[in-house]
Symmetry: C2
Subunit: 336 residues, 2 copies
């Protein structure tokens, strides 16, 4: 029999989550019922949205009940199948949960086309972070060539894709990241024209002014709070602000008050949040575009890889402390 190791949500974090919020649980993997498959998890994606799932309340998705397996997406290999069209050895993307051997209904699986990209590509530049950056820039941000684009958390999973997609589309891209290593990565590897190390700046607005002397047409915001507020001061006429993430506010005791909305009014700008799942039927459009840029070498994604299921809670903590450079991934088994 196959055993399934699972990470169970044991307590709700008050601050940054970590291993103390989880219990490990080992049990027999479930044999697939009709329409189901048994999977072996290859890797798990660690994303900021996970923090909100650990709360008791309701967001666009319900919180995870205590005692249940932690929710999370990733890539897996089919070990056994009782579902038509799904064969042993197929690779799939799914909301697997933090477990080594999930058994899932096949209708929740998305089969990976390895002609388009390898496993690392599907968790990276073809994954949901990349698709989020794509639709956020194009549809919510109405990106146009020559736009002055500013991206925060630019070394993160979504941010690094946003920087590159905007650059490939002919925008002038400035970026905000924390620390020398991330800033060098954003400038030298992702191709941003200017970078701001927010940890080294006492006056973020002035730094944005230097990096974006002509102002900002499109601000792709992954952090919220004071960074959003400072960015608003530099909006150009009819600017668009894409509210993608607000990681700076996830653990703040009380919400930061945004003071510069007057600027949004005076430039007749727009500020919009979105749910990438609403673009579900158009993921292929994004992936076709991304795969072509991957093939011609204009697009890359740096992964920050931790090995072993038990590293998932560690990775989640690193994410909220800003310790990762690149998209955070937990690798459970060989993916080459």
């Amino acid at each position: 029999m196959q055993t399934n190791r699972r990470l169970i949500l044991a307590s709700r974090p008050t601050g940054i989550p970590g291993p103390e919020n989880f219990n490990i649980d080992v049990r027999e993997a479930l044999l697939p019922d009709s329409g189901e498959v048994l999977l072996e998890t290859i890797c798990l994606s660690i994303d900021p949205a996970m923090r909100s799932w650990m709360r008791d309340g309701t967001g666009y998705q319900q919180g995870i009940p205590l005692g249940e397996v932690m929710r999370g997406g990733g890539i897996a290999r089919i070990l056994s199948s009782r579902a038509e069209g799904f064969s042993v050895g197929d690779l799939v993307q799914a909301r697997l949960g933090w477990q080594t051997h999930p058994t899932l209904a096949a209708r929740f699986l998305h089969k990976l086309d390895l002609n388009i990209g390898a496993v690392q590509d599907w968790i990276g530049p073809l994954g949901l972070s990349a698709v989020t950056a794509y639709f956020g820039l194009r549809h919510i941000g109405a990106m146009r060539p020559n736009d002055r684009v500013l991206v925060s958390a630019a070394a993160g999973g979504v941010g690094q894709m946003a920087v590159q997609i905007a650059r490939i589309e002919g925008c002038r891209v400035a970026a905000i990241a924390g620390g020398q290593e991330k800033c060098a990565f954003v400038l030298n590897e992702l191709g941003a024209e200017a970078v701001i190390d927010y940890k080294a700046e006492s006056d973020l607005s002035a730094a944005i002014g230097r990096a974006c002397p002509d102002g900002v047409d499109l601000y792709f915001d992954n952090v919220g709070g004071p960074t959003l507020d400072a960015s608003l001061e530099h909006l150009r006429k009819e600017a668009r602000v894409v509210l993608c993430g607000r990681i700076s506010q996830t653990h703040s005791a009380q919400p930061y008050g945004i003071r510069n909305l007057a600027r949004l009014s005076s430039v007749h700008g727009r500020m919009q949040a979105f749910l990438v799942f609403n673009y579900h039927e158009r993921y292929d459009e994004a992936r076709t575009w991304l795969a072509a840029r991957l093939r011609d070498g204009s697009l890359q994604q740096k992964l920050h890889v931790l090995d072993g299921l038990e590293q998932a809670p560690v990775g989640l903590g690193m994410l909220f402390r800003g310790e990762n450079t690149g998209k955070l991934v937990i690798r459970l088994s060989d993916w080459s």
Copy 2:
């Protein structure tokens, strides 16, 4: 000769503007040059945007230099014409300035069709406030039948039109206004389903919750500040916030900090400002719609009329103290 009385911007206000910021100046009216007309002002519209024109800085329009005539729109009658297609006696709408007898280039004039509406209609329910409400709700707010709509400053020039347009389009409309008289007007004459007297409420968010028990799909904001912040708490999924005005913030010493942007993110909502002049080529669409509703009696606009050019600065002060019920208009000559 015709004399032209003019109100000259003499000083920049620090708080709410009033007569002390203006000088009166009497001079001979200019004879029209080729392509120009001499006008007699019938009425002037008093609008919140005027306050920003009195500043030294630059917004979407330059500030008015000290010593020049105050900027303002209104309706006038042609006294003498040297412009083809413009005849003595024609009524026109234009950026007249605060003066009794402006001389203007005909290309800046919009001739009024009195078959569509009388002078009071053209300054009121066919005027720019109404057109602003129309495009704000439809294009920026993406209004749909059955939307739960909330309108602030609902007894004001734009607000009263927004309440009625949304109601006519089949929305459930709740409104915010200040004082019993305005609230009664909004409820009994404009047809809002619920009204909140913000001056009588210690907890505005709770009051909005009672008036909008199912939340808000579209918030048409004329005031900004704490009212905007409280409204954000009640946004429904994919809500739209139309940033039309921010009169509560015009004279605040320092900008209020908006704390509830997290709600905009979690409902995947949109917040957007706009410039009605960008819809210039489509004003006729709005006016055709508005005129039809005026004819069938479903639309009205209450005017708050003050008589005489010298009342213009008084009216501007009333506007910012919230002392007007209805759209503020200065009448200079008989308009019947």
